[in-house]
Structures are given as structure tokens and as C-alpha cells.
Symmetry: C2
Subunit: 199 residues, 2 copies
Amino acid sequence: MYDGALGDLIEELGQLPGIGPKSAQRLAFHLLAADGSDVERLTSALHRVKDQVRFCDVCGNVSESERCAICRDQRRSAELICVVEEPKDVLAIERTGEFRGSYHVLGGAINPLEGIGPDDLRIRSLMSRLQGGETKELIIATDPNTEGEATATYLAMLVKPMGFKVTRLASGLPVGGDLEYADEVTLGRAFSGRRDVDS
Amino acid sequence: MYDGALGDLIEELGQLPGIGPKSAQRLAFHLLAADGSDVERLTSALHRVKDQVRFCDVCGNVSESERCAICRDQRRSAELICVVEEPKDVLAIERTGEFRGSYHVLGGAINPLEGIGPDDLRIRSLMSRLQGGETKELIIATDPNTEGEATATYLAMLVKPMGFKVTRLASGLPVGGDLEYADEVTLGRAFSGRRDVDS
């Protein structure tokens, strides 16, 4: 393939997730032709992410200080902890504007096939937070797939005996979706979770 | 969205061609979690590409010196010049091992809709090469699409009166392909370009 610096760049770009050899080549030629200042901004952002971004000591969310902005916010309720798999799930929930409690980021889900067990997730730090005494309810918002469900079940088993209220996000039809195109599992969940129209 | 360094990185990655907001976010989290040395190799490759890679003074191919490796190679015939749109086309042709002449990279194709005319391509430097006197045949290997065909027609119009042989790569069925799935234009070309079985 290409020799020298261009070949090195294509190889490095091709290591990134979702970037195949063709995309890596296209990106490398784009960057070769791009303004030096654009490339400088990209490399500087990369350096700053590696130097400055870390994980919040309390909740595990991405942060540029020991505690993330949400954990430092006094107006956020400490009574509710929403457990998610990844930092990007925090962002998705924040966008709804519906939740004013705090978060706990597990860093993944239990997945025996990939060798990820409870000890590989931030479950121990969740337990110490719960022992702090302020929490009343744990909202488990892991993904609605096999791994997420297994993680939710495991957490509920662990936390319920400690006397906390444990809830799980509702499954059902996506708003704005079309009933006809819903898969059977989702539709089944929507039936079993049906609510009174008055409520 | 994300603040600070992570947000900056997501934004910079999202400016790259073929990388949407979701991919930019996934890439940024991957790079955040990646080894520092991996990210260092990527940024260093980026810097080296910007510092060291330039275009060959003769043919316009990518090069780390004034003249690219192909133009410096004395064993390559100067009698044949293969005209392509982009440096990656040179690589594609080199992989076939079929061509031992030299190249000329136009840097694109004539595209009136995007305001790219003959003056935006490296056509003037092609003309000076042809006046050098060594060339006998110009093989036009621009893409087999509207812009590539227009560029080929324009070049042929310019170069044929100067007494050079001008050829165009054959169009037809891709080898290993299935006749049934060929589009009608390709199939039409395959008919009009049919050859004696003996040849």
C-alpha cells in the first residue's frame, strides 16, 4: 500500500472502530488536503482529551475534574440514582430533561460471552454510595437487551434486600413509531406494561 | 452536548467526511479509553503527513520528495503516460502490476455543477510534459462516470491534434461478476467493445 507517513496514517485510522481500509484511505487523503489549522485543532483536541478527561470519582461519568458537573450540582437529588451502562447514556437521559437525580455509570453490562462479570463493572462503588444513606430509589436504566436485562436482574437481587426501592425503565412502543413495525418482543412488553387511560 | 475537551474532539471528528455525529461520539469514547501510546501514534502520523507529504512536481502523485518514487524509477517507460483523477487511482493501477509507464494525476475531473473546470486540474503541467517529447501514448484512466468521460473527451480533443496516440481504459463486465446483475449501460459497453475470441 502507501509507504511512509501517509501509509502510517492510513494504518492508524484503520485501527479505529467502524473505519475500514477504504474509509481510512479517504480520511487520510482528506486530512492531507485539509488546512493545517484544521488538523492542528484535531490533534490538539486529541491531546487534551487524553490529558484532561477522566472519570468522575463518584459516579463514573466522564469529567474534567474529580467530580463531574452533575455530582457537584447541589440541586440534583441524591435520593434517586439512575444506573446506566455508559457515559453516553447519561447524555441521552439529560437531553430528556426528565431526571433531576444523580447517575451511576457501570462502564458496561454483564456479558459472560465476552468474559465481563460483575467485578468488571463499577458495582462495588455503587454499593458504597448506597451505604452512604441518602439514596431511596435506584432506577436501573441499562439497555433493553439481554446483557442489560441480566445486569438489571443482578443489581435488583443485590440491592432490593438492602431495603431500597428498585425500578426499571418502561419498555414499550417508541413514541412516534408505527405499531405495525414494532418487533414482537417490544409489542409484548407494551401489552404487559399497559396502563389505564386515566392515569 | 459534551463540554470541554471531549466535546471539542467530537466536533472535530464530526467534521471529517463520512463521520456523522454518532460515529464521532463513538470514536471519541474509543480514543478516550484507548492507550495513550495508540493516540500518540495517531497524532504523530497526522503531524508527519502534514509536514512531510507533498505532491510530486512531475506527475502530481503523493510523495515525500520533489519527485515521487514512480517518476524517479528509471525502469518506468516515459513513452506511456496514464492520466488518472486521484493519487488513489495510481495505487489501484499499481496493484494490477500491468502498467510500467508513468502517471499524471489531474487532481479531480471536470465537473461544471461543482464549478470545477479544466483550469482547476493539472492539465497545464500535462501539456508541458507532452512537449518534453518522450511521450508516445496517453492512456486516459479517468473514472467511468459522467465527469470522468467529460474529462477524457476534453483531454482527447486537446492532445490528439498534437499527434499523440490517445486511448481510454476498456469498459465492460467486471471479472468475476454476474452478467445478470450488470447495469444496462455496462452491458451495452460490453457489447460494443466485444472482441474476437482468438485475439
